[in-house]
Amino acid sequence: MNSNQTDQINKLLPIEQDAANLSTYQLIKYSLHLADTNLILSQRNSEWCGHGPILEQDIAITNITLDLLGQSRNFYQYAATLIGSEATEDSLAYFRTEREFKNCLLVELANGDWGQTILRQFFFSAYQFLLYEKLQHSKDDQLAAIAAKALKEVTYHLRWSSEWVLRLGDGTAESHTRMQAAFEVLWPYTGELFMPEDYEQYCASDGTGVDIAEIKAAWDTKVREVLAEANLAAVMKDNAPAAYMYTGGKQGTHTEAMGYILTELQYVQRTYPGNEW
């Protein structure tokens, strides 16, 4: 992969003006959004490898991470096929800049403690479960196939993370306090999941994507049900910031954390382009 290839990916963008290519262009952006979100969460979760609180749960979070990485590869491979030329799953993961990444902000946040990692996974898996449940009926055969496959894995992630939210939220005074604190940190990043970007709106309207506004109510019900059972208050402490939700990630405007993630993720390929194991 050289800078020439990077340019080809960037050159993709002007085709938007061509009406005939508009649907492909939106589908590429949508696939990249799905891929990026999975990749960045898998990169974050992988930081736990070898550091989990106990061996079994270290293995659990890294297994989930592997599933997310696999899903991101499927979406990148598909995006690369749509882009054509010399784009590959690797060039899309390793040679795009921060502004080109379309992941939601929630997944790029620092892991925090184990409780915060668990709560994020739960928020995310609950969202991803509902998303894939709809996406498996996409008019686009490949997106439908990826979603149907991934749904089985996410079902497992959701069950595991729900159980851990219960265990920690309704556990000791210490674990409860930490989970409530994690809620305060994460909650303002959950709104973005359900605020559609232009490419999401486009793909939802032509039947290839999911109307995420439609799954918000179900997500809310599921999340509040588990939080209540875990004895966690699903409201922000002083109520005022509750209405405020951070956005921008899906458009490429990220938090400070993102640059650090990409630096680590892309370092080897940026330094030794095309290097192989």
Partner: protein, 166 residues
Amino acid sequence: MIPAHQHNSTNTATQKVWDILQTVCDPEVPVLTILDLGIVRDVSISNDEVQVTITPTYTGCPAMDMISMNIRLALLEQGFKNVKIISVLSPVWTTDWMSEAGKAKLLQYGIAPPKGNAGAIPADGIECPQCHSTHTKLLSEFGSTACKALYQCQDCKEPFDYFKCH
């Protein structure tokens, strides 16, 4: 749907490929062949090119790359030089495609085979591969690989892997 491994080809060359694939094992669970696992979906030959269609068990399974390589090597050894491996996601792989012979081999090897159909979450009654007691408990939903969970026998106390229904 009929599991691919029950396929009986009338074409001798194609049948030979199926026979060779029956010798390719899963690198993580070497007691199972890729036909036992049900991941080979189709075999076809046209103009000297062998096309083997496989489907991944889990999307992130790192064994898939090695399985593709091992398929190539096994076919190459038997003179099939032009091999194309196609990976398809649909229909979605399920443990329902695992052969009965494969399940028996798993148990013999020390891994409890999937109990029930795809998606089943057996709360209890998973048979201990060591002492065959069904008095066992789940230790962790995730085991040594994505496809397994970790159980422990309450009678002989031995921990063991359970191949999850998927």
